[in-house]
Amino acid sequence: MKTSFRLLLAVLVLATAGATARAAVADNAVRTSIAGIDVIAYPTGVKNVVTFRGSLPAGDSLAPEHNIAVPTLVGAMLDQGTLKQDKFALAQKLESVGATLSFSVDGTMLTISGKCLAQDMPLVISLLAEQLREPAFPASELEKVKKQLAGDFQRALESTDYRANLAFSQAVYPIGHPNRDAPTEEFLAAVQSATVDDLRAFHRTYYGPAAFTLIAVGDVDPTALQAEVTKAFSGWTGGKPTPAPARARPTDAAKDQVVFIADKTNVSMIWGQATGLKYNDPDTLALRVGTNIFGSGFTGRLMANVRDREGLTYGIYSAVLNDTHTDGDWRIVANFSPELLEQGIASTQRQLTEWSTKGVSPEEFAREQSNYIGTYKVTLATTTGMANALLASVQRGYGVSWPDELPKRVAAMTVNEVNSAIKKHVRPESLVLIKSGTVPERAK
């Protein structure tokens, strides 16, 4: 299941942010291949903090035909014990020095996140290697993880946001597309039927250095990092290249859907479409800039009008999402009180029509270019921001020079390119509208 929507959103925002006014990122990044792993060290001025990010292709879309939950379960079992030690011993080693190391699985990738004090970098690297290379998959722990997931997903069913996202992914992506979430009941049935052997087989096939990227940012010595990675990962083989699935074909899903949940005081709305575009397609950056002008921040058209002027929502935004590994989607996301839902949708529709037919103005475009420049500097000022941006750049096939290149692309862009991308790729008549919550009868 795609549990890392928020992380992806953060990565996308970070990696599309603006221009550089400081030394080139590429000049400061030390990139090497060690034991087949793409290792990037990025020292910064921060003291005593190291942030890790990494990924390898082991996501849900790679599940064996007979069980869609296996990749998620493998990811969830990595910290539940290795051939050398049980989960409590692993946790004790990390917790006793205040370090963190976690794994999440989305449609395409296993993502690694970690943080530690500088002196504990060798420990984190060694534990990461142990968990990736030698997970034990104890049957008793698998049973506990299954119960845990069953509870987590049952609780998620009461979330209007979760239910809206689920319905949207199923409406705009066809079966088999990595961005399409499986129905919860189907997924939970797969969780229950998965076996240790299923997990071991998947791990054998997909876990390895072939497309593994590991990034460390902060108070890190590149030479020392390389030595620890060499020590911990030497001899590891296997893995698969990142898959290149077919792009989404239109679905025949209903264009207006209600996910009714009783006794909810807020309705979550998603209104959007699959774009058929990947991040590195020629029109995508222009579409992202145009989408920011429409629905990013407090002065974007959506917040300025639907919230600030009309008072119809606490939050509304538009974004281009889920296009790093596959073609993605364009969406408007909003919250509305049930009694203001119809008004809110009507107001949003007015803004959408205006934006999609008339495009953005040169003044708005110039402001957005300037916003990119400043945002870049601010976002890359933390180890987390830099690590997320570097990982997204590599995943998109650009390498570590992309954070330097991106602002130049934005600076060279024209308002006509933006308006052309909006007209070409956003099709208001094809958008799918999802309303999740206690939707009043008149709005159904």
Partner: protein, 460 residues
Amino acid sequence: MKARFLPLVLVVLSVLGARAATPVPVQVDGFSFVKTVGPISEYTLASNGLSVLLLPDMSSPTVTFMVTYRVGSRNEVTGTTGATHLLEHLMFKGTPNYNREKGNSVDQFLERVGANFNATTWLDRTNYYATIGSEHLEGYLAIEADRMRNLWLRESDRQPEMTVVRNEFEIGENNPTEALDKEIGAAAYMAHPYHHSTIGWRSDIEKVSIEKLKEFYDTFYWPDNATVTVIGDFDPAATLGLIKKYYGVYPKAPAPIPQVYTEEPEQTGPRRVTVKRAGQLGVVGVAYKTPSRRSPDMPALQVLDAILGRGKGSRFYRALVDTNLTTGVGVGTGQFHDPSLLNIYADLAPGVAHAQVEQVILAEIERIKKDGVTAAEVSAAINQILAQSAFRGDGSFAMASTLNEFIASGDWTLYVTFDDAISKVTPDDVRRVANLYLLEDQSTSGWFIPIVPAAPAANN
């Protein structure tokens, strides 16, 4: 921050240690130097009492500028609950000098230069901040200072903003744990204004008048009720000059800032609440009265908090999550100006009874009170807290948001000294505070009981 329960990542707001060399104070006409503690220097603008904290950090060419007003939902009374927060929203509506029509409002300026900015309200304080490229500091500082005293407060702005805030309230009500947390807080506090959550009661959000909000603004938004914090890449002397230029135009508050004098009467028995709403799975909450953040017992309580609920090695993880009684458990010790709560929230697994989980929680607490904790547990907890503290030095915004809470607690120097206090906590300290504060008669427990829809939840 409109929740009394603190997420785990926020509850241990200790910081820093010796991350930077002790700065040399600067002399700027009009400012009194107060003190330097660790990397932070405090100044006062003599003409109006504005406090200023400076923390230079040159690790990136950015700066965070923040103003913290010492007014939060603890300053509200019946009829004005939520007013501090609503006023915070209205602070973005403009002034005669800076507004949307002129194209130079605070959000227009900050989104043009590319900033991380916002404002938040909590029990004891309201803060406004932006992290920006250092070259934009004066532009933001001028706008921030201007709205301290020149805000437009118009009924035509209140009406649409009220429904915005009401929707924020509604989003919170969608969450069972948040709904339970509000009711536990309301039961735990009878007299003290921590009784109500920062978002306020729905009827007050809807009906508080613009006149009341203006009265609130004119009572609390003055330089002598504020602290300005600057962290990042800036020149201290030049920045003090800018602060004087833009904030020095205001006098002190014309009347003394009203102080909250209501104290919570001693609780003399356990309290209990139940929330029944549509939902899927239950939640158990248990809260105990704890002291102010400035209490010398707070470091030991923080270590106790980590031993109970942080990580797979914690007591509650082993007793509740690893046994599949719950899908998660969190512990948060409130760190506020006035006595607060240590909250425990456990998300029930399917088919598990509330009473069983509550019993396990209470048994684990009794075990610590009776048998104490091990030196290894204390050592791990201390290291976790100190590492989290170091992680909050990653970027000027993280530092500012942490320092903000210490300012609100009434002693910003804890930002520097708290780590040292944490490192001295012993197993005996932990056992002592467990016996002193985790008392049945000082507890408030709550159950969220889901009313599961008759039909299957959904096919999604």
